[in-house]
């Protein structure tokens, strides 16, 4: 009896220690997440002003801020909010599959055995550094015809390959042009795929070699091996990569600066908060859709 009570209290102590360990996060969660979240929602339903003694005054006005946001307010670049959100979401929908597929592709290449692999890997993960916002922004050239990032792919436009394709093979420019635009934006794509490539590479390396051996024994072609062994094995990690990419893309969106400018440059804290709330809902919606779709695919592949 004595013994068991001692054991129980030991376990309880263990749990208490565990809670002490997570307590910094819990405090942070309340102070930097829950309270700001509640405040954001509260501000968005009020007209917020500055009081006589420097404090803040609140005047309840229901969903007026939200109505204003979509009816009358414009962004810093003079577009409507609806358009801002449509643009952000479309860019995201286009970039997401490109980034995910591209990072997998790069990981597959880096996973091959060849001489100088160490150097190639060194370069392949460089986007983790080069992809930082500041660096990307600063590398952008302000002058010149394109006005964008000099990525070297504009060499393609005047290159022998292009001239050969157009002159000798008579490939119409109409076909070539969209391809060229994609190629020109390839650095954009690479710069956003650093962490994802890293995650995919580790996933590829952790696939047991015996699986590939079995596939070889059974006479599977490389194509079949890829679709029946590699893809199912990395399906779980794809879930993580997709979620990570969505979050990362939303982090880079310009909506936050808009909210900041509403609140502190135009003095409309209520409207800025309303924008933040809509933004948050947007992110959650996209994530939920992505998670639902992916879950189906993952389950299908696990069978």
């Amino acid at each position: 009896m004595e013994k068991s009570r001692k054991k129980l209290s030991f376990r309880t102590m263990w749990k208490i220690h565990g809670i002490i360990f997570v307590s910094p996060f819990l405090i942070g969660f309340i102070a930097f997440f829950l309270v700001p979240l509640a405040n954001t929602v509260f501000y968005s339903l009020n007209t917020v002003g500055v009081g006589d003694q420097g404090g803040m005054t609140f005047e309840w006005n229901g969903i007026q801020n939200y109505l204003d946001l979509f009816r009358t307010e414009v962004t810093t670049s003079n577009t409507t909010m609806v358009r801002l959100f449509t643009e952000e979401n479309t860019t995201m929908l286009i970039s997401l599959p490109l980034i995910v597929v591209f990072s997998l592709f790069m990981a597959l290449l880096a996973n091959r055995k060849f001489k100088g692999r160490a150097v190639v890997r060194l370069l392949f993960f460089l986007p983790i550094i080069l992809g930082i916002d500041v660096v990307i922004n600063m590398l952008t050239i302000t002058v010149g015809a394109s006005g964008g990032l000099d990525t070297g792919s504009n060499l393609l436009a005047g290159s022998y390959v292009t001239i050969f394709l157009v002159r000798t093979l008579n490939v119409p420019m109409r076909v070539l042009y969209p391809i060229m635009t994609y190629v020109e934006n390839i650095f954009d794509l690479i710069s956003q795929a650093g962490v994802q490539t890293l995650v995919y590479l580790t996933a590829l390396q952790s696939i047991s070699p015996s699986l590939y051996e079995v596939a070889k024994m059974e006479g599977a072609t490389a194509y079949e091996t890829f679709w029946k062994v590699t893809i199912p094995s990395i399906m779980n990690i794809t879930f993580f990569v997709v979620i990570y990419t969505i979050v990362d893309l939303f982090l880079k969106s310009s909506i936050a600066t808009e909210a900041y400018s509403f609140a502190f440059k135009q003095g409309k804290i209520g409207t800025g908060s309303a924008l933040s709330v809509v933004y948050m809902l947007n992110v959650i919606l996209v994530l939920a859709i992505a998670a639902l779709l992916l879950r189906k695919v993952v389950k299908k592949n696990e069978k």
């Binding site: 809670i19 996060f25 405040n39 954001t40 803040m56 460089l126 990690i237 909210a259 948050m280």
Partner: protein, 337 residues
């Protein structure tokens, strides 16, 4: 009989040879194509950096000279000097302070994320699932959406009303006070910290239970088990998170810009100096400081890119040291499989 068999063999040999040849040529083709792809990708990644070199090292007059593509006619470091003068008000110390800031925040982030991650993975306390859900939720909700309220909270900082005891106003304005950044890192809300917590918890889940039990039998308590047994075993994930944390904190313009706008972090200085609105000022500075007769937009770009290169130096050093371990470590991180 014997002859026939021999003939058969040679037939088999021939078909085998053809088969092997086909296989080999196919393999060579695949290898060749992947090599081309790899080289192409490497080129695309490195080119933006490489193409900076001639721009930065050529003299201001040489910029835009169509004869200069890769090798500048006159070697000059004016762009570099100008960049240093513009973005590093305290000279090299600006960079040292930025690096120290990133290292400090990194240590805090690693220390506190590891604790939370360990507890989430190994201790079955009450409400563990809920706390884990909170970590995921914080990761999913973009931090900017809460920026406004957080900012206002920090302007009127008064947790639980205790500030009344210390100041007359009953609140403290913490904006522009680096304490905010330290606080965020301690309480798990630094740059991408929920991701770090998640990585740590995935790692600690895979550590064999026997390790913990052995240390218990040897009479270690909770804290000694953690600090003497668990943390030393977590070196791979600590270095992975450490590298990522350093890179992201050093390059962070978000927290530093909003919560400490007057601080001299290289990243914020960089992004605030080289805005298009400042172009005229920078060009005028160039002409007066270095007696350059004409400075065009190209000069502005050259200085800007020299500054980026300076900014990248610490990152590249850390990356070169840590890169090799990065893949190995991620494999042990428990994220996969």
């Amino acid at each position: 009989m014997k002859n026939k068999r021999k003939q058969k063999y040679s037939e088999v040999d021939a078909s085998l040879a053809i088969y092997l040849f086909q296989k080999k040529s196919k393999k060579t083709m695949v290898n060749f194509f992947s090599l081309v792809l790899i080289l192409g990708l490497c080129f695309t990644i490195v080119y933006p950096i490489l193409s900076l070199v001639p721009v930065i090292f050529s003299s201001i007059e040489d910029l835009g000279n169509p004869n200069v593509i890769w090798i500048p006619e006159e070697f000059s470091t004016v762009s570099f000097k100008a960049a240093v003068r513009l973005v590093m008000p305290q000279g090299i110390m600006t960079m040292v302070w930025s690096v120290l800031y990133a290292v400090g925040i990194m240590i805090l982030q690693v220390f506190f994320s590891a604790m939370v991650g360990y507890s989430l993975a190994r201790v079955k306390f009450w409400g563990r699932g809920i706390v884990f859900g909170m970590v995921i939720l914080v990761f999913l909700i973009p931090r900017q959406s809460l920026l406004l309220a957080q900012y206002i909270d920090f302007v009127h900082f008064n947790p639980l009303g205790i500030m009344k005891l210390f100041t007359a106003a009953g609140e403290v304005n913490l904006i522009n006070n680096p304490v905010v950044l330290v606080m965020l890192a301690i309480f798990g809300f630094g740059v991408n910290q929920s991701l770090f917590i998640f990585l740590f918890s995935q790692f600690f889940k895979n550590i064999p239970k026997e390790l913990e039990e052995a240390s218990l039998i040897d009479g270690c308590g909770f804290y000694r088990t953690y600090f003497k047994i668990m943390l030393p075993n977590a070196v791979p994930i600590i270095s992975t998170v450490g590298i990522l944390s350093f890179v992201w904190n050093y390059g962070d313009t978000y927290y530093t810009n909003y919560f400490n706008p007057d601080g001299s972090y290289l990243s914020t200085l960089l992004s605030s100096t080289f805005v298009t609105a400042n172009k005229e000022y920078i060009l005028r500075a160039l002409t007066t400081w270095y007696e350059v007769p004409v400075a065009t937009d190209l000069a502005f770009d050259a200085v800007k890119q020299a500054a980026v290169l300076i900014f990248l130096v610490p990152l590249l050093i850390v990356y070169l040291i840590g890169q090799r371990k990065l893949v190995e470590n991620m494999e042990n991180s428990g994220l996969v499989g």
